[in-house]
């Protein structure tokens, strides 16, 4: 029972990472109709810059700021140089161009930081255990990640639902030509939304950094899981992203713990489990749980 509780929390913590990734993806897709494979590169950028900054300065907080900031700046840069030329193209062109970006970024980090994986340690202040229920110590840092992710998502929900910028973002996802005609600088709005998604991805990279080997190509497995989340939740829906990431994060984590105990084939099956879940969801709801009907 204690193991179950512990793994459930681990699952929620993976969900938080996925949610930060998926919400950026789904915002960018919902508003600009852009399928961005290079979203994983922004996750990687956040983790690398955070690990490097922390290593140099010794300050974890500085690493967090630098990592998220680097992802944000990278986001602005690729939006201005590449992405804005892709909004009117079909999804195939978007896939290919962002595939090119992935090749570039994966090699760039190898060029800068070498092929040896880097590490990001858990911050000193959060390096400990807390008893959530008597007899079940749980790492403080993981709880902090869950809390931070929840806060960021609440902030995002407020931004989208409760502010003037959010109103424009929502309007843009419904009819972008109309809000352009109404005098909103659509180019700047797009840059902002893309950079916001990049910031969230960078943040996810920093927060998940201590659980991962920070190396070239680390963003893509997370990206593909985030795609599964978006597909399950429904493209363009933040509510769907929340539901999807909880489903994927918890199913994946529990599957990896319990399935191998059942049989030897369980090990292979556990890593395939969430994709099977996705297939079942799609068979029942072709546009995802909260997706708009086409």
């Amino acid at each position: 029972m204690l193991l179950f509780l512990e793994q459930l929390l681990n699952g929620v913590q993976l969900s938080v990472t996925l949610l930060l990734m998926a919400s950026g993806l789904t915002l960018v897709f919902g508003i600009m109709n852009l399928l961005n494979l290079a979203h994983g590169s922004l996750f990687m950028a956040g983790a690398y810059v955070a690990a490097w900054t922390t290593g140099v300065t010794g300050s974890w907080l500085l690493g967090l700021v630098a990592g998220a900031g680097a992802a944000f700046v990278t986001g602005v840069a690729i939006e201005l140089v590449v992405m804005r030329r892709l909004y009117t193209r079909d999804h195939l062109d978007q896939v290919l161009a962002t595939f090119g970006l992935i090749l570039f970024f994966n090699e760039l980090v190898r060029l800068i930081w070498g092929i040896r994986p880097m590490r990001l340690d858990v911050p000193e202040a959060l390096n400990g255990f807390v008893e959530i229920v008597p007899g079940a110590p749980y790492p403080v840092y993981r709880l902090a990640v869950i809390a931070a992710g929840a806060l960021v998502m609440l902030g995002l929900a407020w931004l989208v639902q409760g502010t003037r910028v959010g109103m424009r973002i929502r309007a843009g996802s419904v009819d972008r030509e109309m809000i352009g005609a109404l005098g909103v600088d659509i180019g700047r709005l797009y840059t902002l939304v893309f950079a916001l998604g990049a910031l969230l991805a960078g943040l996810a990279g920093v927060l998940a950094g201590p659980f991962l080997a920070i190396q070239s190509g680390m963003g893509e497995p997370i990206l593909i899981l985030a795609f599964v989340v978006v597909v399950i939740g429904g493209i363009g829906s933040l509510k769907g992203a929340v539901a999807g990431s909880l489903l994927v994060g918890i199913t994946d984590t529990l599957g990896r713990v319990y399935l191998p105990k059942v049989s030897d084939a369980g090990t292979a099956l556990s890593s395939m489990l969430i994709f099977l879940v996705m297939a079942v969801v799609l068979a029942l709801f072709p546009t995802g749980l909260y997706g708009r009907k086409p």
Binding site: R89, H91, L92, F104, E107, A268, A279, L282
Partner: protein, 330 residues
């Protein structure tokens, strides 16, 4: 006549290049051209569903890897004499078995993949094919009895053909090239056949095809399965060229490369896939000579190609030859 020549040209290049390399004393180059032929075969199968059927699959690496494992697993058991886990059948080490088997395995797996992916369209389809391929990748990593992450190294050599040795690189090359030509002829005919016309019609307007009394989904899933089968055959050939299979064959970047090849060659041109493979793999080899960090050049180059050079090489050749017809489908 002009169109026939245009179609034949890339195949002729792939036939002449290794012969020229061997005569020039650079026979180590032959496997490079063989890789081109194998990737061209896989990309051509992808082009069939993409160009004719409008299905952007970012998961074809899965079938490539499955085909490779058909060769790897059969060869593994044939070598040490142990029975396979499949009804205790003995291992196989002949192309007459492994190639058809690869096709069947690829097509049979592609059937449910295609059906699930075709529940949706557009961006969803891309993401789902990518996810399903990732599932196969993880599944292969989980095959610990076949090397897991490390895969199967076939250091005892590759498959025979009807009992004959295929160790000679040139022999293996022309075998791959022959299969490439066969696939081209079959896919071209299939495209012109009623099957291909329905598929093409469904890409342009699915509702209209339904109104005409067709069930597009059956054709689309069928095409997806054929495509998956051919890609698996390419994977089986790749395993013979490398004498090695690993989950890496199913890595999602392979799916990306196949798409790049199709785009470079010109969507829907089929023969363009051969140009695409020659150019992409040629670029990779060439850049590798310049720097070990070659993707840092290739990546931005791809971005530039996508942004500024549509229609691909086949389109370029068509424009240069002013050869009336269009290279790609609209």
């Amino acid at each position: 006549m002009r169109a026939v020549l245009r179609d034949a040209l890339p195949f002729a290049v792939l036939a002449a290049a290794p012969v020229a390399a061997t005569l020039a004393g650079a026979d180590w180059l032959v496997p490079v051209f063989t890789r081109m032929a194998v990737f061209a075969l896989a990309a051509m199968a992808l082009d069939f569903i993409l160009g004719v059927g409008g299905m952007v699959s970012l998961g074809h690496a899965a079938f490539f890897a499955l085909g490779g494992y058909v060769v790897g697993i059969g060869s593994h058991h044939a070598y040490d004499g142990s029975p396979t886990p499949f009804f205790g059948l003995p291992g196989w080490n002949d192309l007459l078995i492994s190639l058809p088997l690869a096709f069947v395995v690829g097509a049979v797996i592609a059937l449910p993949f295609g059906w699930v992916s075709l529940r949706t369209r557009g961006a969803y389809f891309i993401m789902i094919t990518l996810a399903l391929a990732q599932m196969v990748y993880y599944g292969l990593v989980g095959l610990t009895s076949y090397g897991g992450d490390d895969g199967i190294s076939m250091w005892w050599g590759h498959n025979t053909l009807a009992g004959f040795e295929t160790a000679d690189r040139i022999v293996l090359h022309f075998l791959c090239l022959a299969l490439l030509v066969v696939a081209f002829v079959v896919l071209k005919r299939l495209r012109a056949a009623p099957f291909g016309r329905v598929l093409d019609g469904a890409r342009q307007n699915e509702a209209r095809m339904r109104a005409l009394g067709y069930r597009p989904l059956a054709y689309q899933v069928g095409a997806f399965a054929v495509s998956g089968g051919i890609v698996a055959v390419a994977g089986a050939l790749m395993a013979n060229v490398d004498e090695f299979v690993s989950p890496g064959m199913g890595h999602w970047t392979i799916s990306g490369e196949l798409l790049v090849i199709v785009i470079l060659g010109g969507i829907g041109s089929l023969s363009g896939a051969v140009w695409g493979a020659v150019v992409l793999l040629g670029l990779e080899e060439g850049l590798r000579e310049i720097t070990e960090h070659w993707p840092i050049i290739l990546g931005p180059l791809l971005v530039v190609i996508v942004l500024f050079a549509r229609g691909g090489i086949a389109g370029l050749v068509a424009r240069l030859g002013k050869g009336g017809g269009r290279a790609g489908s609209p």
